[in-house]
């Protein structure tokens, strides 16, 4: 079975009568979760047809609709969601897809996870903590396993380093950890850039340690940066500049660690949509990473597809009508105008997904259920709007 607990899409998970084997804490909880919701309109239970009808009415009357999420849906459902967005003139906001866009546009080099396992000798965890977000990354690919050219694994062949605002769990097992002052993030990145250019950095950080870090990075045969997307991640342009500088003297690849199991797929689909002939990118459907496009408080209708928007926002950011399509109860579903429960991708809904490194993975069912998939719900909406 394939676990859709995160974007690693671990394909060695076994489901038996006594629970999951090989799954991490997140995967096991995700697969065995029974925290489901009922269809609701204005916080009152209704049947599925009534919930879908209400959602359609809101979408039809909306002047500034926005669709958010998409990272926790199978590729086929995402495609239907894009069609629906185009039909109702909605903007699609897919948070944390900036680095995927840079990779897909060829602005930075990347690689696959098996390549990390086989070749990577220097691994940087930049503004991320995979032990808490992608728990099996280190054991399956990034640090512990023996690879084709890294037969001695982490003991001798690999150097893992964290650069983060916090001494994280990942930092505690890495050979080097650089904890950055949140008020002096730019200073650290500038100092590292200077050191990579063979200049003595002008900084209040420990110059010797930064020069040592630069030396390790420059000697890398196959370096990989795993970049976080949360509040502790460095600005995207800083990562791109760092990658450019590193690739002047060594060979570095970038892979983002983003929330959601299928975020790369929606980034790919939206990119294809914008690059198709005759599309100037200003059509009805648009992609953004939250930093551009319409502000959410301007939207008069927000459709949350597998995304707990309210648990990700400061208070009072939302005024529009809210439609939630989600397998589980969330803070957003508690306050939504319409709640439509759906099957969860990789649990009671089959399909395909794109792993964080671009590999397409077929996602089988783990168990049958009577729940409609999000793709089927979006199709019904597409037919009636």
């Amino acid at each position: 079975m394939v676990c859709t607990g995160c974007a690693l899409l671990c394909d060695d998970v076994e489901i038996g009568e006594n629970g999951c084997r090989h799954a991490c804490r997140i995967g096991d909880a995700h697969i065995t979760s029974t925290n489901q919701i009922d269809p609701m309109v204005n916080q009152s239970p209704v049947d599925m047809d009534a919930a879908i009808k209400s959602a359609a009415e809101i979408l039809v009357s909306a002047e500034k609709p926005v669709f958010v999420g998409f990272g926790n849906s199978v590729t086929e459902a995402q495609a239907t969601g894009i069609e629906l967005a185009e039909k109702v003139g909605a903007e699609i906001k897919t948070f944390h897809t900036d680095i995927f866009d840079d990779i897909l546009d060829g602005r930075v080099k990347t690689c696959t996870l098996p390549e990390v396992r086989d070749y990577a000798d220097v691994i940087i965890f930049l503004g991320c903590d995979p032990m808490n977000t992608h728990p099996r990354l280190l054991s399956r690919y990034a640090y512990y396993p023996r690879g084709e050219k890294r037969q001695h694994g982490w003991e001798e062949d690999r150097t893992a380093i964290t650069i983060d605002l916090r001494f994280s769990h990942t930092a505690s097992i890495c050979k080097e950890a650089y904890t950055i002052d949140p008020n002096r993030q730019i200073e650290f990145m500038d100092a590292l850039m200077d050191a990579l250019s063979n200049k003595v950095p002008k900084t209040t950080y420990d110059k010797k340690r930064i020069l040592k870090l630069a030396g390790t990075l420059k000697k890398a045969e196959f370096g990989v940066i795993f970049a976080g997307t949360g509040a502790s991640a460095p600005p995207r342009d800083a990562i791109i500049r760092l990658m450019d500088r590193l690739n002047e003297s060594s060979d570095f690849r970038l892979l983002p660690l983003a929330p959601g199991y299928n975020l790369r797929s929606i980034a790919e689909q939206l990119r294809q949509l914008h690059n198709r002939p005759g599309d100037d990118g200003d059509g009805g459907s648009d992609s953004s990473s939250g930093g551009s496009g319409m502000d959410l408080h301007e939207a008069d209708c927000i459709l949350c597809l597998g995304f707990d928007l309210m648990n990700s926002l400061p208070a009072h950011g939302i005024n529009g009508k809210m439609i939630v399509i989600d397998p589980n109860e969330t803070l957003t579903s508690r306050y939504a105008d319409v709640v439509i429960p759906c099957a969860a991708g990789g649990i009671d809904c089959a399909g395909s997904a794109v792993r964080m490194d671009g590999e397409t993975v077929e996602i089988p069912l783990i168990r049958e259920s009577e729940r409609l998939s999000d793709g089927a719900i979006l199709k019904q909406l597409l037919e009636v709007v």
Binding site: A29, F95, P182, A231, S312, L313, G317, E329
Partner: protein, 134 residues
């Protein structure tokens, strides 16, 4: 209602920069028990403070503190850090941190060093639905 003398005194405050972090146990609790569960709240409504900062505001491990930023106010439980990081408060990602403005989805989240004041509190930790009311 009887008032204690120290209720007329302002609790000492300390300035901190809030940094959010992912916590696998919190994610697990959210999936297993739901986001409205006690388990999820206990792992979410937390701030990890430097022991020196805790001394400044006269709190010990497990006490409740009020955190105020320009965007909002929230009460969470304080946890003493094993590391030294004066002036920095680490909070798990989620509603209790995001109410203060530390959202990962509103720009410029990636560069955010959110300033806040932290001080002892007599209030209870709010439930998630009270943290964020539409």
């Amino acid at each position: 209602m009887k008032m204690e003398f120290d209720e007329f005194l302002a609790a000492p405050e300390c300035g901190v920069v809030i940094v959010t972090y992912p916590d696998i146990f919190r994610t697990e609790a959210g999936l297993r028990h739901g986001k409205f569960s006690k388990e999820y709240q206990e792992l979410s409504a937390v701030i990890v403070l430097d022991s020196g900062d805790m001394a400044k505001i006269e709190v010990t491990d497990g006490d409740l503190v009020e955190i105020k930023s320009e965007a909002g106010v929230v009460v969470v439980r304080v946890k003493e850090s094993e590391k030294e990081h004066p002036g920095i408060g680490y909070m798990p990602e989620g509603a209790w941190a995001y109410i203060l403005g530390a959202s990962p989805v509103t720009p410029p989240a990636s560069t955010l060093a959110l300033s806040a004041k932290v001080g002892r509190s007599r209030q209870e930790i709010p439930a998630i639905e009270d943290v964020y009311r539409r």
